[in-house]
């Protein structure tokens, strides 16, 4: 069976729910204050301009109200969260260099193995800091940079200063402001002109501590004609207390470049996952977001493409599974700011066991953007009578030449489908799993094989026990 032939990539529900003792090198006090922000900046020994950005972001954060749309954010106790935990004194040069329990965590998650077998580079973040980063030598020689964001800031301050906050402004939303104030870790990636990174880079984000807030900040710059596939995975152990993950990802795709950014998020069911990810896409460039949301208590996440150059293209594939106690408010944003730009949005959501899956999307066409094409298709599958699915498509079209289409379907697994498959020997559970797998196939097939296998397994695990 294929599942045994490929290495595990460490998102398995039963594998990820393990906890290490909370040994940390340094931790700020709970809550978010000017003092906490100052401390983080000092710990990192940052340039003053970054400290100023953080402090200004804190002011903006404090002024912005909590969003009233999307999911229920009222139950988050923002004062009961640690905004910065430094797990180890310094980052390891090799896996052997990092504290044993942390190393064992990533071993269990299969990251060093994946690094050997099918990745160009790996970043591993534990709590607030990267503990390990690697990149194949041949890519380094071609000028590719893949670092954690803090090291990126230290080694390439000019690049960071030029682009930081240009794609997602601090004040974009309350959580982008929060992230800007307390960000730590994340990836800094630079792909020089014409360089193709054919084997994916992967960053893995792990929360171990309870009441943890993780605020990674990533910046990816693709010079003209370059190519990159970047994969992000996230897990955490299950606690009864809530944790918060609020990342900001900024991507610049220059002329003729192409980036695919794949997320497989399997946070524990006590994690609020509030992420802003956005790409600006220039002339004839392509940005593809592949977004898989399996875990978390509440996810609010709408990968965005800002199509700024003529002929730019954006693809957003979103897959979410909302099980018991979960709300996946996921979607996409395509903003057409130039002529001949196109976007394609496909969303597949599954809700079961009382879960709620929402599609929320925006397609916007500016006045000067002639001949825009945009297709949206969202399909929802509801597995039982107690689960819920909603669709919130928004369109703002200011140019009459645009061709916009939107298609939405909601379906329930039918008795006839189940009976048909059962009559071929599949148990009810197997039949459901097969139908669901077929439902998400168009998205899963876009993933590298190892991830596709793992995602299918995750979905089956999610479904376990969801059938009475």
């Amino acid at each position: 069976m294929a599942a045994n032939e490929v290495p595990k990539i460490g998102l398995d529900k039963y594998k990820y729910d393990f906890k290490n003792p909370e040994n940390y090198y340094f931790r700020v006090q709970k809550g978010l204050s000017r003092e906490v922000v100052q401390t983080i900046s000092e710990m990192k020994n940052e340039p003053d301009w970054m400290r100023q950005i953080r402090l200004r972001a804190l002011e903006i954060y404090n002024k912005k109200p909590i969003p009233k749309w999307g999911g229920n954010l009222d139950d988050i106790d923002f004062d009961d969260i640690y905004y910065y935990i430094k797990p180890a004194e310094k980052m390891g040069k090799s896996w052997d260099d990092i504290p044993r329990d942390i190393r064992e965590t990533f071993d269990k998650l299969g990251i060093p193995e994946a690094e050997q077998k099918y990745l160009s580079g790996v970043g591993a973040q534990y709590e607030s800091e990267a503990v390990y980063h690697s990149l194949r030598e041949n890519l380094k020689k071609q000028g590719v940079i893949f670092l954690d964001m803090d090291s990126g800031l230290k080694q390439y301050p000019d690049l960071v200063r030029e682009y930081f906050g240009t794609v997602v402004p601090t004040g974009d939303n309350k959580f982008s402001a929060m992230n800007t104030a307390v960000w730590s870790g994340g990836s800094f990636v630079y792909i020089p002109e014409g360089v193709h990174v054919d084997i994916p880079l992967q960053a893995y984000f792990r929360i171990n501590a309870r009441n943890m807030g993780q605020f990674e900040r990533s910046l990816i710059i693709a010079e003209p004609g370059s190519y990159l596939h970047y994969i992000e995975g996230c897990t955490a152990p299950i606690y009864s207390e809530d944790s918060l993950h609020s990342g900001v990802i900024e991507i610049i795709v220059k002329k003729g470049a192409r980036i695919r950014y794949t997320t497989i998020q399997n946070w524990a069911p006590n994690v609020y996952n509030l992420v802003t990810q956005r790409a600006v896409v220039y002339e004839d460039a392509v940005m593809e977001w592949v977004d898989g949301n399996i875990g978390s208590k509440l996810t609010m996440k709408y990968p965005a493409v800002f199509l700024k150059g003529r002929g730019a293209r954006g693809e957003i594939l979103s897959m979410s599974y909302a099980g018991k106690g979960q709300h996946q408010d996921a979607g996409a944003k395509a903003v057409h700011l130039a002529p001949d730009t196109s976007s394609n949005i496909i969303s597949k959501s599954i809700s079961s066991n009382g879960g709620r899956a929402s599609y929320r999307g925006l397609v916007k066409v500016s006045k000067n953007a002639d001949r825009v094409k945009s297709n949206t298709r969202c399909d929802a599958l509801i597995l039982d009578d107690i689960s819920r699915s909603d669709t919130y498509p928004y369109m703002e079209v200011d140019n009459a030449t645009a061709r916009i289409s939107h298609e939405a379907t909601v379906s329930k697994i039918g008795d006839e489908q189940l009976f048909y498959l059962q009559s071929r020997g599949l148990t009810e559970n197997e039949a459901m799993a097969l139908i669901v797998r077929g439902f998400v196939e168009s998205i899963v097939k876009e993933l590298p094989m190892e991830y596709a296998v793992e995602l299918n397994r995750l979905i089956e695990l999610q479904m376990d026990g969801s059938i009475g």
Partner: protein, 252 residues
């Protein structure tokens, strides 16, 4: 001891949908190697029998027994019945988008065998069987019944039949929606599959299919009861006189 040749025994079977009584005491015994045809007009309960035998949850058995290979299967779920060797070729097979024929067949074969078939062995077998049925290889890459023509749906059912190697086969209106060429192909495929260990029940409205798959026994279902049984000549008789004749005979 039950007769070892006896494969399927339906005893006084009563079936309702919601509160409507559809089948009112069906008795039918099928031995290994036998082909039976069950004919009847629309609404006589033909498909109800097929669905009830396979265990569709909407069809409620209110009385009677169904003994398959010596076991009463009425308490079994549809998948348990399938694993025991019962197969229903559907009149209207449902589409399962996103699931390829090949993927589905492998899952189904593994399920009825209760062990995992080696992937290479599976594909070898699938290729052989498709060759036998003169089916195009690309068929296996399509999504199950999704956008299939009427003929393709029926061919896909026969392919499943061949791959799952059941002992008792029920064909529910397999001839419906097929033009004469497609009917010939599907019938010839079914004849290739039939053997002396197998039992077959062909449910049909028309005599047409029986000209290609010759049953030894023909039963006429009317208003939830088998009103007449005989050999193949009964089908010919029916072809000549039509259902109205039988129905009138019944009502008088």
């Amino acid at each position: 001891m039950c007769n070892p040749q006896k494969l399927l025994e339906i005893i006084d079977l009563h079936v309702s949908i919601e509160d409507k009584k559809i089948l009112k005491g069906i008795n039918l015994t099928i031995h290994r190697g036998e082909i039976h045809a069950l004919m009847g007009p629309n609404g006589s309960g033909k498909s109800t029998l097929a669905n009830a035998l396979m265990g569709h949850p909407a069809y409620r058995v209110t009385k009677g027994k169904v003994i398959f290979k010596g076991q009463n299967i009425l308490k079994m779920s549809p998948d348990e019945r399938a694993r025991l060797g019962l197969f229903l070729a559907f009149q209207y097979p449902t589409a399962i988008p996103g699931v390829t024929v090949s993927n589905f067949l492998r899952t189904a074969v593994n399920s009825v065998r209760n062990e995992e078939i080696n992937v290479l062995d599976f594909h070898k077998r699938l290729n052989e069987k498709m060759k036998m049925l003169a089916m195009d290889k690309s068929f296996t890459k399509r999504y199950l019944n999704d956008g299939f023509s009427g003929g393709e749906k029926k061919q896909s059912e026969v392919l499943q039949l061949v791959m799952l190697e059941p002992e008792m086969v029920i064909l529910d209106e397999t001839d419906s929606g097929l033009d004469i060429d497609a009917l010939k192909i599907v019938s010839s495929d079914i004849n290739k599959v039939m053997n002396e260990n197998m039992g077959m029940l062909i449910i049909t409205h028309y005599v047409r299919i029986l000209q290609y798959i010759k049953p030894q026994f023909v039963h006429i279902l009317f208003n939830g009861e088998i009103v007449e049984s005989g050999d193949y000549s009964l089908a010919e008789h029916l072809e000549e006189k039509g259902y109205n004749f039988i129905m009138n005979e019944e009502q008088n």
